[in-house]
């Protein structure tokens, strides 16, 4: 079952290129890195979809998925430098859901940075979320890497402000898949201008890691695995040597490389989505690089959900997926091929049947 050994020795092994003997003392391992300050890790939890029923009752499955991710993150050795939450903490954006989710997240013994998801947003356009977690888009620097968080789940002003009789209705419309009343997600002009100004202050050699909720690439419009102005963001990122975009929203493993930009998705703690390719009636653009996850076993209620810790080694990211009741996966940036790769399943011959029949 377990492909990721969470012990300190193997934790470092998956992060760097070192093969270590089991008897090597820990202090030596750390010294063995050429630039230890450039290598660090953070954990990423996403898409909890905490859902209020009524009174103090919440959907148990969603609660347990997030509680488990938080508890496991607290056990990581060595400790990650910080934790990201990738959006959709709530299901329908209510204060009760956001408060309940924030309470579960408060058990983390780390600094947490939050990303806005459409399920957090479309009830009050992020007003209560901002009170709890701060600005909807921002940047920060950590150990030589420039981190950027965008709110990528906005849409056209007319749809947002003029179309719906109530905020609740607006939230429900955006929460649906294959909804003819829906509207494509986008970053929008305001944030694109801000991003341009933010990037102007950063050296082109500085590694950039950008967090968004929706993919900043176009995969499948009907499920909003899509960001309408993705190309315009990609153009702004193009001048930088090392760029990684990490997104939630899709509840499945996806990865891709477009020019200098690596794309990685993160897992949901709530539930898995099928791959768009399984919906054969519609055009979809799942990246060729992506080796799909295996089909979830319905016996295991947490199967095909999970969380990840991310090693940042010299500016590139390696994602270590901790998949409940399933084989853990590692998607690592290959420095020679210059794109993310799954070390176990990338070769066609090593794939297993459930990865073809998802």
């Amino acid at each position: 079952m377990n492909k990721i050994d969470h012990s300190r020795r193997n934790f470092l092994k998956t992060g760097g290129a070192l093969a270590l003997g089991s008897t090597l003392p820990i202090s030596l391992v750390e010294l063995a890195f050429a630039e230890p300050s450039q290598n660090f890790s953070f954990a990423y939890i996403s898409d909890a979809h905490i859902q209020h029923i009524k009174g103090n009752r919440f959907v148990r499955n969603s609660d347990r998925g997030l509680i488990r991710a938080v508890a496991e993150t607290n056990l990581l050795t060595p400790k990650p430098d910080f934790v990201m939450f990738g959006g959709d903490l709530a299901q329908l954006g209510t204060q009760a859901e956001l408060d309940h989710g924030a309470e579960i997240m408060s058990a983390l013994s780390h600094k947490v940075h939050y990303v806005m998801g459409e399920h957090d947003y479309y009830l009050d356009l992020g007003a209560y979320w901002e009170k709890l977690f701060g600005p909807q888009y921002y940047s920060f620097d950590h150990k030589g890497v420039h981190f950027i968080v965008l709110n990528s789940i906005r849409t056209y002003g007319d749809w947002t402000y003029n179309r719906w009789p109530s905020n609740e209705q607006r939230m429900l419309e955006m929460a649906g898949l294959d909804n003819p009343n829906g509207s494509p997600l986008m970053v929008g002009e305001e944030q694109r201008n801000w991003l341009k100004a933010d990037l102007a202050k950063v050296a082109k050699t500085t590694p950039i890691e950008l967090f968004s909720h929706s993919p900043l690439q176009k995969i499948y419009k009907g499920w909003n695995f899509w960001t309408e102005d993705a190309e315009q963001i990609q153009v702004l990122l193009k001048p930088f040597q090392k760029v990684s975009v990490i997104y939630g929203h899709v509840h499945q493993i996806q990865y891709n490389q477009i020019g200098n930009i690596s794309f990685n998705s993160v897992m949901a703690t709530a539930w898995p989505w099928p791959y768009p390719a399984s919906y054969a009636q519609a055009e979809q653009y799942l990246p060729k690089l992506t080796v799909p996850m295996n089909r979830a076993d319905p016996f295991f209620e947490r199967d095909a959900t999970g969380w990840q810790f991310i090693n940042v080694a010299s500016g590139n990211v390696d994602l270590n997926f901790s998949l409940y009741n399933n084989t853990d996966r590692v998607v690592r940036f290959d420095k020679i091929k210059k794109h993310p790769e799954d070390k176990d399943f990338e070769d066609e011959k090593t794939r297993i049947n459930p990865q073809r029949h998802y």
Partner: protein, 252 residues
């Protein structure tokens, strides 16, 4: 035990063992090795066969009178609302009442939840230094509650223990890996509470997904208990003194 010598000393010197090994293997003294002991133990284990319970006669032989009506209702709960079948499996032509997997069902682990970051880290570090998992688990009660995790380092398996069979379960109190539940009724109550004893205690973060409150009534709980009493093999039925006593077990 650092080696097998103490075992060999006994079987080579005890008159009864000497006679038995001479009769079966035609060996004695230094010719008698651990291979012979292992074969003898294996032969003994092969003789322990559970089967021909009231349940087997009812389910596999079609004897509809083998189970009482209360037990039959208990069986339906076993398959349905009680969700027991999810792990205590029954196949078409045989029933082991175990899926041979590891699950966290909220036993033992609940008491060490606050300590987990310290325990898991100490465990990782001890392992890196070449520590012996058996020794660590057997000498420290708290570490032993880490369950399967202690063997495979997988967060999936924190507090997870292997599903035991339910055959002859009425004869093997106390229950669970740590013997913490005294009666079968206590066990069903534990599951009915969603993996905690007593009801309302905090659920552990690593609880297996299938464990959840079952909303069974007291009557249904008793039906499940009497069904489990129908899993006693025929040859033990008369010695089964706990039958009947189970139904009066305490509520928690």
């Amino acid at each position: 035990m650092p080696n097998h010598q103490p075992i060999l000393d006994i079987v080579r010197e005890d008159p009864d063992y000497q006679a038995a090994f001479a009769e079966v293997f035609e060996v004695s003294g230094r010719q008698l090795t651990m291979d012979h002991v292992a074969k003898a133990i294996a032969s003994f284990e092969r003789s322990i066969v559970a089967g021909n319970s009231a349940f087997d006669r009812y389910y596999f032989k079609g004897d509809k009178t083998a189970l009482t009506e209360q037990q039959q209702r208990g069986f339906q709960l076993f398959l349905g609302q009680g969700r027991c079948i999810s792990c205590h499996s029954i196949e078409q032509d045989h029933a082991l009442f175990s899926d041979s997997r590891f699950h966290n069902i909220g036993i033992g682990i609940n008491a060490v939840q606050q300590d987990l970051p310290r325990l898991t880290q100490a465990f990782f570090e001890a392992k890196i230094r070449g520590g012996d998992v058996d020794k660590m688990v057997l000498t420290d009660k708290k570490s032993s509650e880490l369950g399967r995790f202690a063997v495979n380092d997988s967060f999936n398996d924190i507090g997870a223990f292997k599903t035991p069979t339910l055959r002859n379960i009425a004869l093997t109190a106390p229950y669970m890996h740590d013997g913490s539940l005294k009666t079968l009724k206590d066990v069903v109550n534990h599951y009915n509470n969603g993996g905690v004893t007593p009801a309302g205690a905090p659920v552990n973060a690593f609880l297996s997904g299938g464990i959840r409150p079952l909303n069974l009534t007291d009557v249904q709980i008793d039906e499940l208990v009497v069904f489990m009493e129908a899993l006693t093999s025929n040859q033990y039925v008369k010695t089964g003194t706990t039958v009947g006593a189970q139904a009066g077990g305490s509520h928690e």
